[in-house]
Chain length 216, copies 2
């Protein structure tokens, strides 16, 4: 990277190659070591997340750290109920395989962050989201992707848990009514590193060839 006084940085090919490696090695993590994560580091990740774009510069992301044993136990309860319902929807071989998958690291992750979108924010004055209001929550997702990449660059893993009742989690964390749950993140140092997602490794779903996803 070169960076003249007052000028925009230029990123070189070596950096672009490292960035591609980062994309390749970022995984959804469900197996965490018990080592604590410094709270300074969590604040840094949240700060980097907020450098994401947001529709109309609305910055609708809201982060809540979940620390008490009682709250964490309630989140696990929501996960277990939703996961049992999900398991019951599969039959035969799929049910057997589903039951074996590890889909969340809620018991071990030292840091847990609920991420919400303030769907009634007036920040940004509604710009850019009249015809596609869902872009407000999309902005929060862009922030989460920044956070996951910045975490991986520091050797940290992030697991996005979506097998939860979003209204239950919002009530549990006592957030304003206009905050919609976008993600529940488990963060910590991973027990293992893989190039392939867990769902690929255990035969649930293979990666699609890219030819199928780009058309003219």
């Amino acid at each position: 990277m070169t960076h003249d006084e007052g000028a925009a940085p230029r990123f070189d090919a070596a950096f672009a190659a490292q960035l591609a490696e980062l994309f390749r090695w970022r995984r959804d993590v469900r197996r965490f070591r018990s080592d604590p994560v410094e709270s300074r580091l969590v604040g840094e990740l949240v700060g980097l997340a907020t450098l994401a774009p947001s529709v109309g510069h609305s910055q609708p992301w809201r982060f809540v750290t979940v620390e008490s044993e009682a709250r964490r136990a309630a989140v696990i309860g929501s996960f277990e109920r939703c996961n049992a319902d999900a398991l019951a929807s599969y039959e035969g071989e799929a049910a057997v395989l589903y039951a074996r998958l590890k889909l969340a690291g809620l018991r071990a992750a030292p840091v847990q962050l609920a991420v919400f979108c303030d769907i009634e924010t007036e920040v940004g004055r509604g710009l850019g989201r009249m015809t596609m209001p869902e872009t407000l929550c999309y902005s929060v997702v862009a922030a989460i992707q920044n956070l996951a990449l910045a975490a991986r660059a520091r050797g940290l893993g992030v697991g996005w848990v979506s097998i939860l009742d979003p209204r239950e989690i919002a009530a549990l964390l006592d957030v304003p009514a206009a905050w919609k749950l976008v993600a529940y993140l488990c963060i910590g140092y991973p027990q293992e590193e893989h190039l392939d997602p867990e769902l690929e490794r255990y035969g649930w779903q293979a990666r699609l060839p890219n030819g199928e996803i780009l058309r003219r």
Copy 2:
């Protein structure tokens, strides 16, 4: 970065610092130079986008390049109608300021990509999205954030246009009924580089202090 045979790479502090610079200097771009972008490069960006996480490994992202003059003109028509409606919703000083903002680079961007989510995909067998089905489209947003970062690392700019009628764009591009428009992206070399978003620079919306967005 160090990368032993068969082992996961370790990213060093210098890389993490460059990544933070990348986040800081990624902007939504609306002013493009006319220089063409190699189609090989577009394919590379789409490939890097697909390294994003997706719920249940569903990989629901679908990219459509928009190349013909007729289609581009129709997209501009949709933008102009939606933008006129948006302008009409503001009054006084806000209306004057809104009218001056440049919100899309649809006439100049050499590459234009409509990005959809296949909301009926069976890939991933529904895993992870029973209670939060919106995570399917969120996966597409994570891919778009990868694409925007990879583009910026190559000196390319990306502008996300959301002031469009999503059903009109889907009809125009003749995509399957289950494909929901997530974003319309303008891609090209930017005319200018800034650290602050256009909406901040022209006084529409300031950046929020981080203290407001993280709570315990």
